[in-house]
Amino acid sequence: MKYFSILFIALLFSSCHRKGDQATVPGSWDEVVAAGTGSTVRMMMWQGDPFINTYMQQYVKPKLKELYGIELEISSGQGNMIVSLLLSELEAGKKQSSIDMMWINGETFYQLRQIDALYGPFSGILPNERYIDWDNPYIATDFQQPINGMECPWGNVQLSIIYDSLRTPEPPRTMTELLTYVQAHPGSFTIPNEFTGMTLLKSWLIAIAGGDSVLAGPFDEQKYQHYSAQLWEYIRALQPYMWKEGKTFPDGPATMHRMLANGEIDFSMSNNDGEVDNKVLQGILPETARSYVFTSGTIRNSHYLGLTQRSSNLPGAMMVINFLISPEAQFEKMQPAVWGDGTVLRTDELPDNWPQQFREIPGRKYAPDRASISRYALMELSPEYMIRLFDDFRNIIIEGR
């Protein structure tokens, strides 16, 4: 009995002790730097693109080490895997998460907030946050949710379609033209069964609904049913002429780029409008590759960085995020030869000669420049739309139920 109570008291103290260890964020930025310098930060991000991986491994990692002594450890995990990991950690009652920060997007943001796995608000603490273009609605809202400092914008992109100008001199620019095209060229078009593909479906859904404003705001079941029915009708019309007769779909843009290069399909796509430039430079796509957007519009969105609620190294992670939104890192990231990802900063209001440098970033050779496609940009929809589309795509189109 005596031993039991001693054990009980010891456990009580140890759990209190553990609580003290976790998630204490110093008040001022100087304290954050003091706590975070020289620490190890664990980040989870999508690692499906070699250029992005190179940017992180060969630019960001060494820079962080050099400037702050921070050791950045990157592990692979896309949106839903991150949510799944954090959910299972919460269910297991883990006091400290195995990751500190992650690269996320709309529907992941939504699900993470559902399970309260994000730490925040925090972006207000970061010094470089003042350079962010908060007036831009594409940055300040993520899938129709005001971000309220719970995640930090990292980059900005618009969905575009990639094709080979040699094989397809006149690509279809509307949904009707696409239908005509695939009927004339069966097997040339497909949609990847993941984030990028769903973004295209969302773009089409908005087009069917007649524009941005119709589906704006919170998820509306009736509107979804009404317009998605027309969307599935359209997809069903496309299906027999799609790659593999629409019976199976590729797992992502990377696979589709290779198929495009090998002549298996005529169209690939990417959430990043600058993708075609870095893929041509990498030798994956031929120099005759070009990209464009549908005149019915494609979705433009930002991607973000978030902190885990139960991270054991919030100061370090904050320093990493602060670096990633610095003019330096954003400038490097925007180079077509590096990543070609749009910046989230107000480039004209940056100090020193940054505005000049940003203006002089080599233009895109194979992709249209941002200005010309932004009039076709559409706002992201509420996350439930994505979740429903993903589900229904599997049920209705893939499994044919």
């Binding site: 399970i115 199976t248 198929m259 599997r394």
Partner: protein
């Protein structure tokens, strides 16, 4: 010695019996809503969904058929190699090469099959070069196809070396040469002897291994992940997908599938043991 034995048993229970049993209990509780962050309380809705509105049973059937075809063909090929080239296989260097695939992981095997049989792979380029096909689209779909051709081929290549070695082993242990000789002396010809004596002998002794391999192929993960279609999916990719992807509310259903799968494997294991005990 007594103490040693008890320690051994304690370790056995801790490392072999406990993990799976405890996990099975948790999985079951989750599937009926008694645990889990987003659960609403006890419900049999997910088990009902499993029965009526999920791809589980079809996936199970699909996986079993693929397993039977793969192992069936692999066994035939292994028998052929053993009986026809028995003595040649004894040579160390030949046996070494033939056993090489044992050291190849599923991921690499899938990668190989992909590089060889994909519409823009080696075979397709060869047929294009000799004029048999007109391009990637003209090449038949051998991967990412419903008939799972690529998947079956990959599993066969991985299974044949094992069964060849196994048959060779059994043949030697049971003195197959002697049996064949005896049969021939009694008037049978080579074909008859093989068919009525050797092959049944090999198959009966190897049955536990065959059953085990069927289970392996049924539960295969990496190969269908890389070479399969979106629908139908084999069991492991299906369940892993449900568990870790997208809809958080699907987790109880995923756990229900897991529990069902484990029960099935336990059942087949009992069958395996019974047969093994008889022919050990």
């Amino acid at each position: 010695m007594k103490a040693g034995k008890s320690i051994a048993w304690i370790v056995f229970v801790l490392l072999v019996i406990l993990p799976v049993s405890a996990s099975l209990v948790y999985a079951f509780l989750y599937s009926v809503g008694l645990t889990g962050l987003l659960s609403d309380g006890y419900t049999i809705a997910y088990w009902q969904q499993l029965r009526t509105n999920s791809p589980f049973f079809f996936s199970l059937l699909y996986s079993m058929i693929i397993a039977v075809i793969s192992i069936g063909l692999a066994v035939c090929i292994a028998l052929w190699l053993t009986l026809r080239y028995g003595t040649t296989l004894q040579r160390r260097n030949i046996s070494f090469i033939l056993l090489l695939p044992l050291g190849i992981p599923a991921v690499v095997a899938a990668l190989m099959t992909y590089q060889l049989l994909s519409p823009s792979g080696w075979l397709s380029r060869l047929t294009y070069a000799v004029g048999l096909t007109g391009g990637p689209d003209a090449f038949p779909a051998l991967i990412n196809d419903r008939l799972a051709v690529g998947i079956i081929i990959t599993h066969i290549i991985l299974a044949v070396p094992y069964f060849t070695a196994l048959f060779r082993n059994i043949y030697r242990q049971e003195q197959g040469d002697l049996l064949l000789l005896t049969a021939r002396n009694l008037g049978a010809d080579n074909g008859q002897a093989s068919r009525t004596i050797v092959i049944p002998l090999l198959l009966r002794s190897a049955f536990p291994s065959v059953l085990m391999f069927l289970l392996f192929v049924m539960g295969s993960y990496e190969i269908p992940l890389l070479l399969g279609v979106s629908d139908p999916r084999m069991l492991s990719p299906l369940i892993a997908d449900k568990m870790f992807r997208f809809d958080l509310l699907d987790k109880p259903l995923a756990y229900a599938m897991l529990v069902s799968y484990v029960l099935l494997v336990l059942l087949l294991n009992m069958l395996l043991l019974r047969k093994n005990a008889r022919h050990a």
